[in-house]
Symmetry: none
DNA sequence: GATGAATGAGGTTTCATTCAT
DNA sequence: AATGAATGAAACCTCATTCAT
């Protein structure tokens, strides 16, 4: 019970990696991977350049840690949610996506998606890591929900591998939009409205023939609002 | 007919800028702006580092020339097409977008969009140039078509400034998709099908109340194919 | 007494800027501004190229620091000496010039004068800095002594602005001579003799009509030695 | 008599070297040796870079040609004048110096002196050339006049090797002054007055004991004007 | 003779990484 | 554990010189 009572400097010490990860996430998202200088990361975290190397082997290792902390970890939570689920697959999909948005999409972590899109070609090792830890697990999760829904007769019989990108793409795009400043487009979408609209429409499309319309498929009444 | 018979090296000279622009476009799109080394551009064009500086003042100048050559020029053509148009605004919009896709979206130039999204924050001068020469002119063009359509009663009364990003965003996203290799998503969309579907749907939405359904608004018969 | 006992590398750190300034002064004077390579400066100071950039932003900054350290600082001291002076203006002028010679003219710093004369046209920013920090302050100092002497009736009524270059030019020339190796002229003047002769003659010329001849105006007895 | 009637382009051709030398002198004096780009020399002469290499082997060769054309040649003329002289040595010295000033000191060629002072250390081959062709011949000429004057009893018995730099230094300094823009000093001396004063004073000093005062030693009546 | 396109060594500057303290 | 001085590879850019036409 005394376990976490420590002198202040020691608590400080334990907090170091998190402070570094937060600083690194900020700068990576703001400037990109290559353009982020480790000295700036260290300074923003209030430590010296050398200290950073006490916690992370090198720049790549730091970046991987940022991805693990801000993306892979929530993804793991989503996988657990999926494993524990026992309700209707439409509700499950809705829940997973909304939680994902809250934990990742709405945070600075979303900027990682844009960053990887742009720079992955130059850093093969990072690309491999990202594909294995994020892309494939994320895709598998969505495909898993689809498979579950089809197997339980809650979704019409679609090919999960084909439908999966149709569901993931809008989420990715929304993440990019929300973290692009100038030259993407001034198109300031309202993320919650976009998500609601998109989910409503996608789930309507997944309703098996003969299943009753309305909840849990359709959440929005009447005609969708013209965005 | 002797007019264009020149000594070999002079013919080379005329071709050099285009060869360099092509090499630069390749590498900028492949690696990003900052990560592209001018020596590599030169080597890919088959010349030495110094030669590049005979034709372009510096890296920034080279990049601007690439953008002008591969994006601004087609945009200017689209502006002329718009000025010359005398048909129905729905057909005009369709024509402009499809030509844009052929001239830019389907070429490597589309990669520039992704690049600017990711790196614009680090290169203010490039951002300003890109905003003025590409973003603003492109936006003005789409808004112009909308204004024309509304004025001629061919589109329902929408606010062009509000509707404009709704039309441009899907095009931008498609360009990004088609030029992102690994970690965007394996989601390999069929660009022509995507464009047809998107245009069909967007124009249906712009049909004024009371105007006859079908052409020129709807081009695809019956229910849209499940993307 | 323990105050200045520091770890060895920290003592090094404090000494670094001075070591670098000394090396830079050597090389700037030896080769000129443009022809001095920073790598050589670093090597002469016993450090690597990158280390230099820990202490100075760039070449220009390094040069300015050299000028400040070796010229502006002694000039500031001379200004203080002038402000504190309470004796005869002839003695003041003699003292200021002899100290200037010891602190600057007889050191490698004198080479800076030659360097600026030759290269100032190519480096406008350096020229501005040098004019403001050296030329103008130096001229003002000499003019100030003249004004003081005239006001106190210790010099005949001369226009300080007109007489000032007459006094500064021989000093400048001597500095150039003493730091020009080959093709100025083999004319090896004896600096102390030159200074004594010049001062003696200049002060004789400044003696007001009616003032007693001899000290403090004339310091050298009888006919000047044939140089 | 038809000898110099040539087609225009051929006269042009013969003029090329002179045009290049003039352009090179301008730029060398303006920017220094190292900072002068051969492309700029060629452009100022109205030819292409390659053409320059038809007339001069390389930069060094061009510089030597400039020195020969603008300094060595007048020096050779002075040597002939000296050989032909039969008048009083005081008049001879006066004549030689004034002609030197008109042919060299008052022209842009005077800037070469400043340039060599500053950059000679970096270009040993140029230094050797300059020492042999200019410094030594010039010194020999002045020493020759002194020797002649002493031998003919027109100058008091001085050691020519000792007196020589006393005579050459003021001339050199005047050349430097007249071609230094900013950071030498604003001291704008009047060259003709400086020369007259200097010659008058120097020749007075060379008058043998017992020789009549006045011409040809003193040229200026009464007290020298306060410079 | 004349051209000017092409070259590539060499300079300044940046920054990930190391290591003595 | 923490520091921050030091390193050196690598990038951009310049310019004397060459050479095919």
């Amino acid at each position: 019970m005394q376990a976490d009572i420590k002198p202040r400097w020691e608590r400080r010490k334990d907090a170091r990696p998190q402070e570094l990860l937060a600083a690194a996430l900020d700068l990576f998202v703001e400037r990109g991977y290559a353009a982020t200088r480790l000295e700036d990361v260290a300074r923003r975290a209030g430590v010296s350049k050398g200290t950073l190397y006490l916690y992370f082997e090198n720049k790549e290792d730091l970046f991987k840690a940022v991805v693990r902390d801000s993306i892979v970890q929530p993804l793991g939570q989503a996988e657990l949610d999926f494993a524990d689920a026992d309700g209707h697959s439409a509700d499950l999909l809705r829940t997973l996506l909304m939680r994902w948005w809250d934990k990742v999409g709405a945070t600075r972590a979303a900027g990682i998606v844009k960053l990887m899109m742009a720079e992955s070609g130059n850093f093969p090792e990072l690309t491999q890591f990202y594909n294995e830890e994020v892309i494939e697990r994320g895709n598998a999760l969505i495909a898993g929900v689809l498979t579950r829904g089809v197997a339980r007769g809650e979704f019409r019989p679609v090919d999960p591998a084909v439908m999966m990108p149709v569901l993931s793409a809008p989420i990715l795009m929304l993440m990019i939009w929300c973290h692009s400043s100038s030259p993407c487009l001034g198109a300031r979408v309202d993320p919650r409205l976009f998500l609601a609209t998109f989910l409503d429409n996608a789930l309507r499309g997944l309703r098996p023939d003969g299943a009753p319309e309305g909840a849990p498929y359709a959440a929005l009444p009447g005609p969708l609002p013209e965005k």
